[in-house]
């Protein structure tokens, strides 16, 4: 019963933290989509760059998120900036990789046909390649979003706000209910975001 009364009494608090959490995740994903899709497209033209770029993103992924937050902390300082920068870095790999794979996976005959119709390369990219690769890119965005919702919770430790604050405050005050609240909210957010984006993905595939 204690848990539900906590939820009721902290309702405004929960909404505010959830809003903050969603805000930093969305901000990071927006930047990561612009940078990641551009980078993914660029490496389909300069093939020799593809290996190094994908390898770099892979290395970033192996670095523990707390370590990455710590490494960027001296650069961006305490607060949401470090958090957003970290989230952008981590969401790059799935987006770059899927953009690249999505465009590479298009049947060359389709691109030949577009060329034969007299389309310019920029038109092909805008009207043929990106629309066809879109569902694969969306899958990458979903992976990224689910992952950085979790990392954003860790970023609360360096003052980025969000639902992780319940967890860290709960641990330091030995308030188990508060820890539980934070963990449940973050998990729900991740599961819901995954479901929502899966639905968007399914619609894009049709």
């Amino acid at each position: 019963m204690g848990f539900w009364s906590l939820v009721v009494s902290r309702w405004n608090n929960i909404l505010e933290s959830t809003g903050e959490h969603i805000l930093i995740v969305v901000a990071a994903v927006c930047v990561a989509v612009i940078v990641g899709v551009a980078l993914g497209v660029v490496i389909t033209y300069w093939r020799s760059l593809a290996g190094p770029v994908l390898y770099f993103c892979q290395v970033v992924m192996t670095i523990p998120s707390l370590a990455m937050l710590g490494l960027l902390l001296p650069v961006f300082g305490i607060g949401y900036k470090t958090g957003v920068a970290t989230l952008i870095l981590y969401s790059l790999l799935p987006i770059v990789r899927n953009t690249y794979a999505g465009i590479q996976g298009i049947d060359p005959a389709i691109i030949e046909a577009a060329k034969g119709m007299g389309m310019r390369e920029t038109t092909i990219l805008r009207r043929v390649k990106l629309p066809l690769a879109w569902s694969v890119i969306l899958a990458g965005i979903r992976t990224a979003v689910v992952m950085i919702i979790g990392i954003a919770a860790i970023a609360s430790y360096i003052g980025a706000g969000g639902l992780g604050e319940f967890i860290f405050r709960g641990i330091s005050q030995w308030n188990l209910q508060l820890v539980l609240l934070g963990a449940v909210c973050v998990s729900l957010l991740a599961v819901l975001a995954d479901g929502l984006l899966k639905r968007v993905e399914g619609r894009a595939r049709r």
Binding site: R47, A50, G51, V59, T62, I63, P64, S65, L66, A67, M68, G70, L71, L73, P74, A101, Q104, V146, I149, G150, I151, A153, I154, Y157, I158, G164, I167, F168, G170, I171, L176, V179, L180, G182, A183, V184, V186, S187, A190, V191, D194
Partner: protein
């Protein structure tokens, strides 16, 4: 992706990662930068933290493999196909749950300490191994299995000589993912009092000492890259021999 060169994994990066970690440790102990950091950055303490971190990862990964492999084999049996589908969906949902939430939830149940961290890490690394074991065995073509039956192989022999060898590269990939994620999650174990390199990072953030912060970040990042590379080498060896 056919055009991508298969990069042969060598021992060189292994030496680089280990050498880098030792060099970083020596550098930070010899140049702590401040009296407060000097108290934390001693060889003894770093060795303890390294042992805690590696210990957590190794114990929880071994336990996870020991539970997930049999379970994955079990749910891939045709008789339990329905259970397999249900568990597969559960695992997919479970994988979207953030690592910090798993640590926090374990803390609410088991309290502070090393064992709680082991439990959380075990639980979290179960999922990728379980999923890949199941997917690997399911992906064995039915024709191959039928051929084995036709040769008069018993179910146990089919499992050991046909299904598992064919599924092994996929299972290995799951173990690699699990271990690398595990190294990262183990840095969070310091929040529930289990030590590890995360201790240096968190202390560094709290007392605002760059040397502490960087030592923890560099050591944990190098450990993750080392594990990734070593298991990548195993994966490659498995793939070429299969």
């Amino acid at each position: 992706m056919a055009h991508r060169r298969t990069r042969v994994k060598s021992w060189l990066p292994v030496l680089l990662f280990i050498g880098g970690a030792v060099a970083a440790a020596v550098y930070f102990v010899e140049n702590p930068g401040s009296a407060m950091a000097a108290r934390v950055l001693t060889y003894d303490h770093l060795a303890t933290l390294a042992a805690q971190h590696v210990g957590m990862v190794v114990i929880s990964s071994l336990l996870a493999a020991a539970t997930a492999l049999p379970l994955g084999i079990l749910i891939s049996r045709p008789r339990l196909r329905l259970l397999g589908l249900v568990l597969e969906n559960l695992v997919n949902i479970g994988q979207t749950i953030p690592s910090i939430a798993v640590i926090a939830l374990s803390f609410t149940v088991l309290g502070l300490g090393f064992n709680t961290a082991i439990f959380a890490l075990w639980l979290y690394s179960l999922l990728p191994i379980l999923r890949n074991t199941y997917a690997g065995i399911i992906s064995v073509p039915p024709g191959v299995r039928e051929a084995a039956v036709g040769m008069g192989m018993r179910p146990w022999r089919i499992l050991l000589r046909v299904e598992l060898p064919l599924a092994f590269p996929i299972i290995m990939a799951g173990i690699r993912t699990a271990v690398v994620v595990n190294v990262g999650t183990a840095t969070l174990a310091t929040f529930i009092g289990a030590g590890g390199f995360g201790h240096l990072i968190v202390t560094g953030i709290m007392v605002r000492r760059l040397q502490l912060l960087l030592s923890g970040c560099i050591l944990s990042a190098l450990l993750a890259m080392l594990c990734d590379h070593l298991l990548g080498m195993v994966e490659e060896k498995v793939k070429t021999s299969a």
